[in-house]
């Protein structure tokens, strides 16, 4: 008996050994990916002094709007883990603009502004580059220098992000990226132990594409993350909240193509094709030749748009409106099939008119915006979202009764200045059109939205 015992043990051991196979190499044996909002890299990138910020706003002639800086700003940069529209691990980065200095409004617990930037085709776009990035310097002056901690994600697909496209105007995905950027920023500030730390107050704002992103973030935060974040208020600016209505306007033969459409459409088509997989079977279904060959992977890129036009990768049209017809970007069949297309369904999916906000919204825009049409987006969103229990406001810079005579007067004066600088008349009107969405509206809407935020915070919101 004694002899059989070890032999039985040996047989058993051998059978178990044969089943130990050195670990699998298949995907099912992979570790779980790092949690959303995990900080991969966080660092202090630079500092802006009060004097530097004031010099910048003075040079741009917007100091009467921004106000004199109360705080210096430490510019931090955080690279973090998030998820792409398919739920796969993805990386992205965010700027964290931290007020510094001795003023009481720059220290201790400060409210957080989660800011969503506007459309860019530039791959290396980085909101932490406050000296070279116009939108970043504007946000720094308006908010961080006045005591808000600004978290401004660069979005998946930009800067160090590994995603080789950007989930452009994808409401759910954009919200996930913003939320993870905010989590990463807070994780980073906690571990860095900075003197200034986030309070529980959270404000959401964004411009253009970022207006849509900010509203989508509020919707998703209030729906899915209410135990983690409480939104005090949001200030979406000049955003395409009504994507399907806006799309109907742009694509319909009787409609009007918006300025910038030949840049926005490739971003949207690729975004929705990646997310839903059913927008086209081949790029030639939607793009005319020769654009079909490269349009799908054109953006984001560090090649300047002028070079892309010169290389024949975009229609040769500096107003970026040549969407249809001979030499245009998109095919006639795309236009004729639009009404029943999966593209229109994707626009419907990402339209932000059908939800119930739980905290106040103060939209802002200019009624003559040639890039993101005001009435179809901002007015429509105000109508759709109002009367659901929280204040929903739409500030129109063109209307003195909406924004007050001071802001309205200064906005009209800025337009007159732009027109005069171009020689007035038709050239002046064209210059105003060209500068309206990207240059003229942003400082005025930011002053309106910031003032709204300050009222909400003062009222304890």
């Amino acid at each position: 008996m004694n002899r059989h015992f070890p032999l039985a043990g040996l047989a058993l051991a051998a059978s178990v050994l044969l089943s130990a196979c050195g670990g699998g190499s298949g995907a099912d044996s992979d570790d779980q990916p790092a949690a959303r909002g995990t900080v991969v890299l966080g660092q202090l990138g630079g500092q802006a002094t009060i004097e530097q910020i004031n010099a910048g706003t003075a040079a741009k002639g917007i100091q009467s709007l921004t106000g004199a800086a109360k705080c210096g700003v430490d510019v931090h940069y955080v690279y973090y883990m998030t998820r792409d529209p398919g739920g796969n691990p993805a990386t992205a980065s965010t700027a964290v603009l931290l007020p510094s200095g001795t003023d009481a409004s720059c220290t201790g617990s400060r409210p957080v502004l989660l800011y969503a930037h506007g459309t860019t085709t530039t791959k290396s776009y980085n909101m932490a580059q406050v000296t070279t990035n116009t939108e970043a310097s504007l946000v720094m002056a308006f908010y961080a220098a006045q005591g808000f901690i600004v978290v401004a994600p660069n979005y998946m697909g930009y800067d160090r992000s590994g995603l080789n496209y950007t989930p452009y105007l994808n409401a759910e995905s954009s919200a996930v990226d913003m939320i993870d950027g905010l989590r990463a920023a807070k994780n980073y500030l906690t571990s860095a132990g900075t003197a200034t730390q986030p309070s529980k107050k959270l404000l959401l704002a964004g411009y253009s594409q970022g207006g849509h992103v900010a509203m989508a973030t509020q919707k998703v935060m209030e729906r899915d993350y209410a135990s983690e974040f409480t939104v005090s208020a949001s200030g979406p600016m000049s955003g395409p909240y009504n994507l399907v209505g806006f799309g109907d306007t742009i694509v319909s033969p009787q409609g009007k193509v918006n300025a910038g459409a030949t840049l926005f459409l490739p971003l949207m088509l690729t975004s929705y094709q990646k997310a839903y997989g059913n927008i086209y079977a081949a790029p030639t279904d939607v793009y005319q030749s020769p654009y079909a060959a490269t349009a799908e992977t054109l953006f984001p890129t560090d090649t300047p748009v002028a070079d892309l036009i010169a290389a024949g990768k975009l229609p040769n049209d500096t107003t970026f409106t040549k969407l249809f017809g001979t030499g245009g970007l998109l095919t006639d069949s795309f236009r004729s099939g639009y009404a029943t297309s999966n593209y229109r369904k994707a626009l419907q999916t990402n339209t932000l008119l059908d939800w119930t906000p739980k905290h106040p919204i103060a939209m802002c825009g200019g009624a003559n915006d040639p890039t993101v049409f005001y009435a179809i987006n901002t007015t429509a969103a105000k109508t759709a979202l109002s009367g659901k229990g929280v204040p929903v406001t739409a500030y129109n810079l063109e209307d003195a009764t909406s924004v007050g005579p001071t802001v309205n007067g200064a906005f009209l004066q800025a337009q007159a200045g732009t027109s005069a600088a171009a020689g007035g008349g038709t050239a002046g009107a064209a210059a105003v059109q060209g500068a309206y969405h990207g240059t003229l509206v942003p400082p005025f809407c930011n002053v309106v939205v910031r003032s709204y935020f300050q009222q909400v915070l003062a009222a304890g919101g």
Partner: protein
């Protein structure tokens, strides 16, 4: 894995408790063995270089994880105190983790390797009753047969990524003991080190073409094994 080790330990205790006496292997005898091998990788590699994404110090690095696998092999006793040995095993898959700046990314790849090794061993007389120590010097060939970037690896690299590892030839050494239960059965334990170095290339397909990151990994593996041998 813990269960396997406890079964082995049980078998070892039974072997120790036996009253039978045993001599070490006879000249001309062969032994085959089967057991567990734990590969304790202590990899060192410089930061990944190349590519468009620059990282601050200490740079983007990789670290190779440990693995336990089934080991087996063949020993031929060609002289009273000398044997030749071929060490094989089921190819272990190692998880590769981000390190340096990529520390928090977690697992970024999986690599499966085949590390056949030959040894010439010198066997000493019994240290304790039935316990025969030995030392061996040899040659290791490590063949990387399967590599895969994980979704996290692709996310950091900037797109679908293929990983290539050059195969490695290097010296190996081990020390061990044979606990001889009887003339047929024995328990063999070893601790081995092998010189395994490999050039890693991670090739990522981006919108702007292929991007290649490179580093040279010194695996510095310690391999601990415990096996049951059958001599004939």
């Amino acid at each position: 894995m813990k269960k396997n080790i406890s079964i082995l330990a049980g078998a070892a205790l039974l072997a120790l408790s036996s009253l039978a006496s045993a001599q070490d292997a006879q000249v001309g005898s062969s032994t085959v063995y089967l057991g567990l091998a734990h590969i304790d990788v202590n990899s060192k590699a410089a930061a990944l270089s190349g590519g468009s994404k620059q990282f601050p110090e200490p740079g983007a690095k990789v670290r190779v994880g440990d693995q336990t696998t089934t080991g087996f092999g063949y020993v031929y006793r060609f002289a009273e105190q000398w044997s030749g040995e071929l060490v094989l095993g089921l190819p272990p898959s190692h998880k590769v983790y981000g390190s340096g700046v990529l520390q928090n990314v977690g697992q970024i790849a999986t690599v499966r390797q085949m590390p056949p090794t030959v040894f010439v061993n010198y066997h000493f007389g019994p240290l304790l009753p039935k316990l025969y120590p030995f030392v061996g010097l040899g040659l290791n060939y490590t063949y990387f047969e399967k590599t895969r970037s994980t979704p996290s690896g692709d996310a950091v690299s900037g797109g679908p990524t293929k990983i290539y590892l050059s195969n490695s030839w290097g010296a190996a050494a081990h020390v061990g003991f044979t606990l001889r239960y009887n003339e047929r059965w024995s328990l063999v334990g070893t601790a081995a080190y092998a010189d395994v170095k490999s050039n890693l290339r991670a090739v990522t397909t981006t919108n702007n073409g292929e991007e290649t990151l490179r580093t040279r990994i010194n695996f510095r593996p310690m391999v601990y094994s415990l096996s049951l041998g059958y001599s004939f």
